[in-house]
């Protein structure tokens, strides 16, 4: 059987869980396997109504599972997987999944492949496609039918996995597995509501490490101002302290969907693309013709970013005749 771990937030099932169900359903149908969805922690009553793609639902509720800790969630998931005799486990390649997958792999003796951009049944086992080197290269690989697959967003069709129906549900008792935990949640943080809200911006100008240094930032701020765009940065730019955290776009920052997304010197790591690929128009400027950002962009220019930003700013500031 194929086990699918569904992450929750506030008692709702996270959207990516339905993508995983779609992947599981496809694999299960080909091999005559069943699909078992697992939810750890509390679930709102209506949250079960779209789990028709699963044959069964296993829930485990326990005080230690209310908020995520790697230790409690991994132990509970391992206990359920062992009890069910799961051969294949699907998880989302999120902060949670990145903690769960490797631990389960070592404990259960299952191969782990991550982050999977696609998963299909192949002649040589399960065939996966993994983006490596910041998404610049694509690895096709095979894993046995005893594996954990940590999937990035887009690996499955969310609509195909979100089917009406509540599968037969059982409660798993994981009390024993959660005995003697050595970690706990101390406090939770929500996004800073006073900071800039990039999700509301219609135009975003994002800079990446490729702009060279913090000294160049005023040039991009000037173009952003001239275009009426919010200034944003990729993770390395935020880590280097060139821009505040609230201006980070990507997996660990904000997911945005503006009308215009101008990316200067952003290579386009999968974590970044995850945060901005829903923009209506993506314009990428980079010196590296192989930069993965060009795969996500609608318009591109291979150029020295500083030369192009100066030209664009000059044009944007020009008073119309």
């Amino acid at each position: 059987m194929i086990l699918v771990h569904l992450e929750t937030r506030g008692g709702e099932i996270a959207a990516q869980g339905f993508e995983l169900l779609a992947v599981a359903r496809q694999l299960a149908t080909l091999r005559g396997l069943s699909v078992v969805a697992v939810v750890l922690g509390p679930l709102l009553p209506d949250a079960r109504a779209s789990l028709g793609a699963a044959d069964r639902l296993i829930e485990a509720d326990h005080p230690a599972l209310v908020a995520f800790t790697p230790e409690a969630h991994a132990r509970a998931l391992a206990a359920i997987a062992a009890n069910q005799g799961a051969a294949v486990i699907l998880i989302a390649h999120t902060s949670q999944g990145m903690d769960l997958g490797p631990w389960l792999s070592a404990r259960l003796g299952l191969a782990l492949a991550a982050p999977c951009r696609s998963v299909t049944a192949g002649d040589e086992g399960i065939e996966i496609v993994v983006g490596l080197y910041g998404g610049r290269l694509v690895l096709r690989a095979a894993v046995p039918w005893a594996a954990i697959l940590s999937c990035s967003p887009g690996a499955g069709d969310e609509a195909a996995g979100r089917l009406p129906g509540i599968p037969p549900t059982e409660q798993a008792d994981v009390t024993e597995a959660l005995d003697g935990l050595r970690s706990a949640v101390q406090s939770l943080e929500s996004p800073d509501s006073d900071a800039v809200d990039l999700t509301r911006a219609e135009r975003i100008l994002c800079v990446g490490r490729g702009i060279g240094s913090a000294d160049e930032m005023p040039k991009f701020a000037a173009l952003a101002a001239a275009l009426g765009a919010e200034l944003a940065g990729s993770r390395p730019v935020i880590d280097a302290g060139w821009l505040p955290k609230a201006r980070q776009v990507g997996k660990s920052g904000t997911r945005v969907a503006p009308k215009l997304y101008l990316a200067f010197g952003v290579s386009g790591a999968p974590e970044h693309l995850e945060g901005m690929s829903r923009a209506d128009l993506i314009v990428a400027i980079n010196t590296d013709p192989l930069a993965p950002i060009f795969g996500a962009a609608h318009l591109g220019a291979v150029s020295d970013v500083l030369a192009l930003v100066s030209e664009l700013t000059r044009l944007a500031r020009r008073v119309p005749n």
Binding site: F68, T69, L100, A114, L132, V143, S150, F294
Partner: protein, 257 residues
């Protein structure tokens, strides 16, 4: 007593513009590919030094003896690590985390460590992050995607980040493993004189346990992603490209009137 913090350092392949693959097209030809420090290991290294600055902890930098490892170990020494350990490894390049974890876990056990920091991920690894594997093998609590670490009354507080700006402070008893995403402060500059001094410092050699390479993720092919498939490219001088972009954006109502 001050804590002992170990940080694991791992060079990763750094493919440039001229890609070169092995004969069966399943991996990079490392003969023609540069290696560089895993950027997340650099963040972990910085966080370890910051903790040492704040608490008086001792920092031990640990790496498998692969190409590029000594450079990373010496950089850690120059930043303030008190000791560097090179763990014996037969291969010339860093193995995936599934293969490396048992050897590194054994080394960490020998070093009697209170807190182990690793980079949250490596760009060339299809077998997932090292953090959870080491935690499973050492039977320690763990957390990855960490940006922010404090040591309070003998416990580790780690700020774990999630999508959309959400985060949690987790409290972990020691010993523990953390996968560092970002250090609490930007990585410090290492002066030439400090690097020069570190070049003269000793790197301790440690033997390692025998282990079989992981073969559970079997590569079939490795190729550049087709990146030109979608974007319409503008070409010419920067001035010409800027004019084309202006016209294209104006046509879509996205250029200031």
């Amino acid at each position: 007593m001050a804590m002992r913090i170990a940080v694991i350092l791992r060079p990763v392949a750094h493919p440039g513009d001229d890609l070169s693959f092995n004969d069966d097209g399943t991996a990079l030809d490392m003969e023609w590919t540069d290696v560089k420090a895993n950027e997340f290991d650099e963040q972990a290294s910085e966080e370890a030094i910051l903790l040492a600055d704040a608490t008086g902890a001792e920092v031990v930098a640990v790496a498998l003896g692969v190409e590029g490892a000594d450079r990373m170990l010496r950089t850690a020494l120059a930043r303030g690590a008190s000791r560097a350990v090179r763990v014996a490894w037969d291969g010339q390049y860093a193995p995936d985390s599934a293969t490396a974890a048992p050897i590194l876990a054994e080394a960490v056990r020998k070093l009697d460590v209170d807190l182990l920091l690793v980079g949250v991920q490596a760009a060339d690894d299809a077998t997932g992050p090292l953090t959870g594997r080491l935690a499973a093998l050492l039977d320690w609590p763990w957390a990855g995607s960490v940006a922010g670490v404090e040591i309070v009354e003998g416990k580790v507080l780690a700020r774990q980040e999630y999508a959309g700006g959400h985060a949690a402070w987790l409290s972990l008893s020691v010993p523990a493993v953390l996968g560092i995403h970002s250090a609490s402060q930007p990585i410090r500059y290492v002066s030439g004189s400090r690097m020069g001094a570190a070049m003269k410092m000793q790197i301790d050699a440690m033997t390692s346990v025998e282990t079989a390479p992981s073969t559970t993720v079997r590569p079939l092919s490795l190729a550049p992603r087709d990146v030109q498939g979608r974007a319409a490219m503008v070409e010419g001088t920067p001035e010409a490209m800027a004019l084309q972009l202006r016209d294209l954006l104006t046509a879509r109502g996205l250029w200031p009137a």
